[in-house]
Subunit: 213 residues, 2 copies
């Protein structure tokens, strides 16, 4: 089955949303916690949190157009800090509930029943139920002019996790913590670790062309 | 267990790489196929392909510093086109093998035994074994000045998939096609669909402050 650009354009909106959101592969599943300058917590689900680099430790996530009028962006601009909290099997429905377009200032912790947690004197709320949590700090933003989305870059300031999910070499076994992955807009999947594969050493393979000489 | 920024900085390199690559959550697992102007195919694994928007259909992925000297970027700049091919359960080892730092011009299809497929008169190679494939066209690039990575933006020109993985509403069931997700640098995981949840309708919930009046 081949769908070209015209076929895709002609799909009804929901079908196109479901299709195009699915075809880049599985996505990360995180709750971003923020707080306004005057102390109102906020929580929102994001599937675009992506590793950007390890030294310095950086991540990115995308905000959709009209981000200026949403709590997550406004709070991050006010306070610089936010938290990234992994969604695991037991909190899928609560996490999904944060995707509702609530009025500005509504506290999704209250709406969903997830628990605010303040760690190490930080003002910004973590999700107590999450098993892997990051404290992040705003670094920069890039306006994606092609569709007016904003890519926000942040540094990872702290990592909080259950000790028994981290292996000797630093690998965090996300299957062990029942971390979820997102398929499309609304599909929640539970991954199981199949294998870890060894680093592929630099191999000096000559281009085939050279072998013919 | 709490690791702050100094703890993270002081980890040995491999441990930091494993940790920071794991803590943003699961990642997409794709092979990017390209071809040089003079006809040399190339294939490379990427875990940063991310949905950017559905109308227009756009995706992004990240290239690490020194991208100017790697085949994927050079070929895309020469020809504008590339393919995104999902990695599924049966091709994990072959896909991982493309992560080796081969010399410029080496054809990873040959190295791995994956099969080049040319569809609809396109010059750029798809991976025949993949069950979800995208033809993409370069749109723009953003230099992430914080760590000299490049975010490349592309339009999705065609979607090629097995008809029986696509649901009535456009949702592509990636568990049904045994698509893999990446944990950290080298962990390959097989997700199973747990549930799809309904769209959360706009709910007019008053801020708690208002209720107290």
């Amino acid at each position: 089955m081949i769908l070209n650009q015209i076929d895709i354009k002609n799909l009804d909106k929901v079908k196109r949303l479901n299709l195009i959101n699915s075809v880049t592969g599985f996505k990360s599943a995180n709750l971003i916690g923020t707080i306004s300058k005057d102390g109102k917590p906020n929580l929102a689900i994001f599937s675009s949190v992506t590793h950007l680099g390890s030294d310095p430790a950086l991540l990115s996530f995308n905000l959709r157009p009209n981000y200026e009028n949403r709590d997550t962006y406004r709070n991050i601009k006010e306070t610089a800090y936010f938290t990234v909290n992994h969604i695991h099997y037991n909190i899928i429905t609560q996490a999904h509930q944060t995707s509702g377009k609530y009025d500005l200032g509504v506290n999704e912790f209250t709406v969903t029943g997830l628990t605010e947690e303040f760690l190490e004197n930080n003002r910004v709320p973590f999700v107590k139920e999450s098993k892997v949590k990051l404290l992040c700090k705003y670094v920069n933003e890039y306006l994606i002019k092609e569709n007016n989305c904003l890519m926000l870059i942040a540094s990872i300031e702290s990592v909080i996790l259950d000790e028994d999910t981290m292996r000797e070499d630093g690998f965090v076994d996300l299957s062990a913590s029942q971390t979820i992955t997102v398929n499309g807009i609304d599909g929640y999947c539970l991954p199981q670790l199949v294998t870890r594969l060894p680093y592929v050493k630099r191999e000096k393979i000559r281009p085939l062309e050279n072998l013919k000489i």
